[in-house]
């Protein structure tokens, strides 16, 4: 068997996944911390915007979080689909571990956007399509988490919550194109992964650093949360007992 494929199959084993997560989660957090540190330092070095003043610096936490709020939902739906089709327990765990991390990023997006909106738009909140769909995304994340914890049978709970995640994916293009489809208060796309960005190049470096940092943060958080859930599901097994008494 192909060694990469073999490793991937072995990763489905709970003790092997536990070792993998315990080893790599701290590294992911460490890389995220370093990149975030440099990114945030850079964010306060670039000159203030000529119209928005310093308030534009909120962009460096708001936009990466907004991108992650959608990306994490997509990842969660992919894991949920794999778990539903092939009944892979680890994918159920990973899908459910995505929900709180995604909810955290969505909350940051909504709150920091609101804080930016007060001085720029003159209001904390507006029922603008982008803001409203992002709020629905937060409710979806909370719904997935709530459903997962509402059913005693963990596997049945993961399947039900996974189905909600798959259905919820339909919201992602609505969020992404809400600023195109409707004439709304929220500005259009400022930065693009693959095309030209509308932001001045001198202001882009902190954004890209923060963008990569939140990817590593997500990886670290996903591994840690999945590890905790894996341990909970495997409670009573020999390998967990051995791990617990290890000094």
């Amino acid at each position: 068997m192909n060694p990469v494929l073999l490793w991937f199959h072995q990763l489905g084993s709970p003790p092997i996944f536990d070792r993998f997560a315990a080893r790599w989660a701290p590294w992911c957090y460490a890389v995220a911390f370093v990149l975030m540190g440099i990114g945030l330092w850079q964010a306060f070095q670039v000159p203030a915007d000529y119209q928005q003043g310093d308030s534009f610096r909120i962009f460096y936490i708001h936009v990466p979080s907004a991108m992650m709020s959608m990306l994490v939902f997509g990842v969660m739906a992919v894991y949920a689909a794999i778990a539903l089709i092939w009944r892979i327990k680890l994918c159920e765990i990973l899908a459910m571990a995505c929900a709180p991390v995604g909810a955290a990023f969505t909350l940051i997006t909504l709150v920091t956007g609101s804080i930016w909106g007060k001085p720029m738009w003159g209001t904390w909140w507006d029922w603008d399509p982008r803001l409203t769909t992002e709020l629905i995304l937060l409710f979806l994340y909370l719904g997935v988490t709530g459903l997962y914890h509402a059913i005693d049978d963990r596997r049945a709970a993961a399947r039900a919550a996974g189905l909600l995640a798959i259905v919820g994916v339909a919201l992602l293009p609505v969020i992404k194109y809400s600023v195109v489809w409707w004439n709304s208060l929220h500005q259009g796309q400022t930065i693009s992964l693959f095309g030209d960005s509308k932001i001045d190049p001198s202001m882009q470096l902190p954004f890209w650093l923060m963008f990569v940092a939140v990817q590593f943060w997500f990886a670290g958080s996903l591994l840690s949360r999945a590890r905790a859930d894996n341990l909970r599901r495997e409670a009573g097994k020999d390998w967990v007992a051995k791990l617990a008494v290890r000094p």
Binding site: Q52, I58, V111, S221, A241, A244
Partner: protein, 54 residues
């Protein structure tokens, strides 16, 4: 206008939520391992032979 108070507020929210996201899984892992340790200790105690006295 610098709007620095708004910037500080937004970054504080970011820091608090990220700290929560970092802390919660670590506490969950610690709790699960502690529960496993206690379970193991209980099982070991139950397996000890009990001396009956008159």
């Amino acid at each position: 206008m610098t709007y620095l108070n708004y910037v500080i507020g937004a970054y504080a929210v970011f820091a608090v939520v990220m700290f929560w996201d970092l802390l919660v899984p670590q506490l969950q892992i610690r709790r699960e391992l502690r529960a496993a340790r206690l379970r193991k200790a209980r099982e070991a105690k139950r397996a000890e032979p009990v001396e009956l006295s008159r």
